[in-house]
C-alpha cells in the first residue's frame, strides 16, 4: 500500500505542474497541440524514471558536496539518449516544434527536484515508482493544458475539427494564450484545493450547513 502511495502522490497530491508549479518552461512552450504535449511529457517521464533509478542506485557512492554536478551529468546523458531516439523515430515536424526544449529537459526543475528530494535518499524501486508517478502527473497536466489550448486556439482536438461554426482564437496557441491558460487553470486548481481544505476541516469539527461554511470562509 505504501508503495502504491509513492506512485499516486506524484499524480494528484504533489502534481509537479499544478501543485508544486515546477518545470513551467516546457509546460508553456510545447503545449500548442496535444501531440506535442504528449511527446514532451513522454520524453521527460523517460528521463525522470531512468535518472531516478540510476541516481538512487549510486546514492552511496556520490559524495555529498558534488552531488548536484553528478546528478546533472546522469540526467544530461539520458536527455541526450532521449533526444537522439526522438530524432530517429519521430516525424520531422514534431522534432522541429519541440526544438531546443528536448535538450532543455536537463534543466527541468522536476527532474533535479525528484533526484535531490527523493532518489538520493530512497531505494531503487521506490525511486522508480516516484519518478513514474511524477512523470504521469506531468503527462496529465500537459495533456489538459494542450487540450484546452488546441480546442480554443485552433478549433481542433488531435487535429480533428471540433465544430465547423467555431472561429479559432489564434492568440491561445501563441505566447500570451499559454500564460493565460496556465494562470486560469492554476486558479481553478487552487479553488478546488481551498474548497476541499475548508470542507475537511469543517467536517472534522461538527456538521455545518453550507451557509455557515460560507460565513466562516468570509471571516477568514
Amino acid at each position: 500500500m505504501k508503495l502504491l502511495k509513492e506512485l499516486t502522490k506524484g499524480i494528484f497530491r504533489e502534481n509537479p505542474t499544478f501543485v508544486l508549479v515546477l518545470g513551467l518552461c516546457p509546460t508553456l512552450a510545447v503545449t500548442v497541440s496535444v501531440v506535442n504535449g504528449f511527446w514532451m511529457a513522454i520524453a521527460t517521464t523517460a528521463v525522470l524514471v531512468c535518472s531516478n533509478v540510476i541516481i538512487s542506485s549510486l546514492r552511496r557512492f556520490i559524495p555529498q558536496e558534488i552531488r548536484i554536478p553528478c546528478f546533472i551529468v546522469v540526467i544530461a546523458s539520458f536527455v541526450t539518449m532521449a533526444d537522439l531516439t526522438m530524432q530517429a523515430y519521430l516525424s520531422e515536424s514534431i522534432n522541429k516544434s519541440l526544438g531546443i526544449f528536448i535538450p532543455l529537459i536537463v534543466v527541468n526543475c522536476i527532474i533535479l527536484g525528484r533526484a535531490e528530494a527523493f532518489a538520493a535518499k530512497h531505494s531503487v524501486f521506490r525511486s522508480f515508482l516516484d519518478g513514474l508517478g511524477s512523470g504521469i502527473g506531468f503527462l496529465l497536466a500537459l495533456l489538459l493544458i494542450s487540450a484546452v489550448r488546441e480546442v480554443i486556439g485552433s478549433g481542433a482536438l488531435l487535429g480533428l475539427k471540433v465544430s465547423k461554426a467555431y472561429q479559432p482564437a489564434y492568440i491561445m496557441i501563441m505566447a500570451p494564450g499559454a500564460f493565460l491558460v496556465m494562470g486560469l487553470l492554476l486558479g481553478v486548481f487552487n479553488t478546488l484545493k481551498l474548497r476541499r481544505a475548508a470542507g475537511t476541516s469543517a467536517a472534522c469539527q461538527h456538521p455545518v450547513t453550507a451557509v455557515e461554511l460560507k460565513e466562516r470562509r468570509e471571516n477568514n
Binding site: V21, L22, L24, C25, P26, L28, A29, I68, P69, I72, V73, A76, S77, V79, T80, D83, L84, Q87, G99, I100, P103, L104, V106, V107, N108, C109, L112, I171, M174, A175, P176, G177, A178, F179, L180, M182, G183, L184, L186, G187, V188, N190, T191, L194
Partner: protein, 221 residues
C-alpha cells in the same frame, strides 16, 4: 560554415540582435525560457534586479564559452578548420549530437562555480548582492537555452562577437521583464483578489497581458 576567424562587424546586424533579443523574441515572454526565476524571484524589485544582473552576467560568459566549445571541440575538423580531438576521432566525426547537451551544462555549472568563487574573493560587494542567486542559475533554462540557440538552432552560424552580444542582449531582455514584473507584483500584493488567484495564478495572467503587449514589437524587424 564560416571560413575562418576573420570577422567584419556589421552594425546593422547588431541592431537587429538588440531589437530581436530584448523585445521581439524576448526570452521570457516569447520563448518561455527562464520562467522559474521569473515567477520565483519577482516578488520584490531589488531581488528581481539582482537576479536579472546575475543572469545577464552568466549568459554573456556562457555564450562566449559555449561558442568556443562548439567551434573547436564539437564541430568536425572538416567543417570548422580546427578540432582539438581531430587526431583521435578523425576529420569528419561530429561530436555535436552526442556531447552538446552534456558539455554545455557542465561548462555552465563550472562557470557559475568559478564566477561565485571569483566574486567572493575579489568583489565582495557584488557577491553580497548577487551571491545567493548564482547557484540557482545553473539550472536556469535561459542560460542553457541561449547557448543552444547560439550554436545549433540558427540557420546561419553566428560569429564569436555576435554570439556573445546575443547572449548579453538576451540577458538584458530578461532583466527588463524581471523589473517590469516585480513592479506589477508589488502592486498586486495590495489588491483585493480572490484567494485562489493570489500569487502565481494572477502573476501568470499579468504575464499574458505583458506578452500580448510585447507582441506589438513584432513589426520592428
Amino acid at each position: 560554415m564560416p571560413s575562418g576567424l576573420h570577422y567584419t562587424v556589421d552594425m546593422g546586424s547588431f541592431f537587429t540582435i538588440i531589437v530581436s533579443m530584448v523585445f521581439v523574441s524576448n526570452f521570457v515572454l516569447a520563448r518561455f525560457l527562464g520562467l522559474c526565476p521569473f515567477i520565483g524571484v519577482t516578488k520584490r524589485t531589488d531581488s528581481a534586479f539582482g537576479m536579472g544582473m546575475a543572469v545577464t552576467f552568466v549568459m554573456t560568459l556562457a555564450s562566449a564559452v559555449t561558442w568556443i566549445i562548439h567551434r573547436f571541440v564539437l564541430l568536425p575538423q572538416s567543417a570548422s578548420g580546427f578540432n582539438i580531438f581531430a587526431r583521435f576521432i578523425g576529420n569528419d566525426t561530429s561530436l555535436v549530437p552526442v556531447l552538446k547537451t552534456v558539455s554545455y551544462i557542465l561548462v555552465i555549472a563550472t562557470l557559475v562555480q568559478f564566477v561565485e568563487m571569483f566574486l567572493r574573493k575579489s568583489v565582495p560587494a557584488l557577491y553580497e548582492s548577487l551571491g545567493i542567486y548564482l547557484p540557482l542559475i545553473t539550472t536556469n533554462c535561459a542560460v542553457l537555452g541561449v547557448a543552444l540557440l547560439n550554436t545549433t538552432a540558427t540557420e546561419e552560424v553566428l560569429t564569436f562577437p555576435a554570439a556573445t552580444f546575443q547572449g548579453f542582449c538576451a540577458g538584458v531582455g530578461f532583466l527588463l521583464v524581471m523589473l517590469l514584473m516585480s513592479g506589477i507584483r508589488e502592486h498586486l500584493e495590495t489588491l483585493p483578489l480572490p484567494e485562489a488567484m493570489k500569487g502565481v495564478p494572477i502573476a501568470l495572467v499579468c504575464t499574458a497581458l505583458m506578452a500580448l503587449a510585447f507582441m506589438g514589437f513584432g513589426g520592428l524587424i
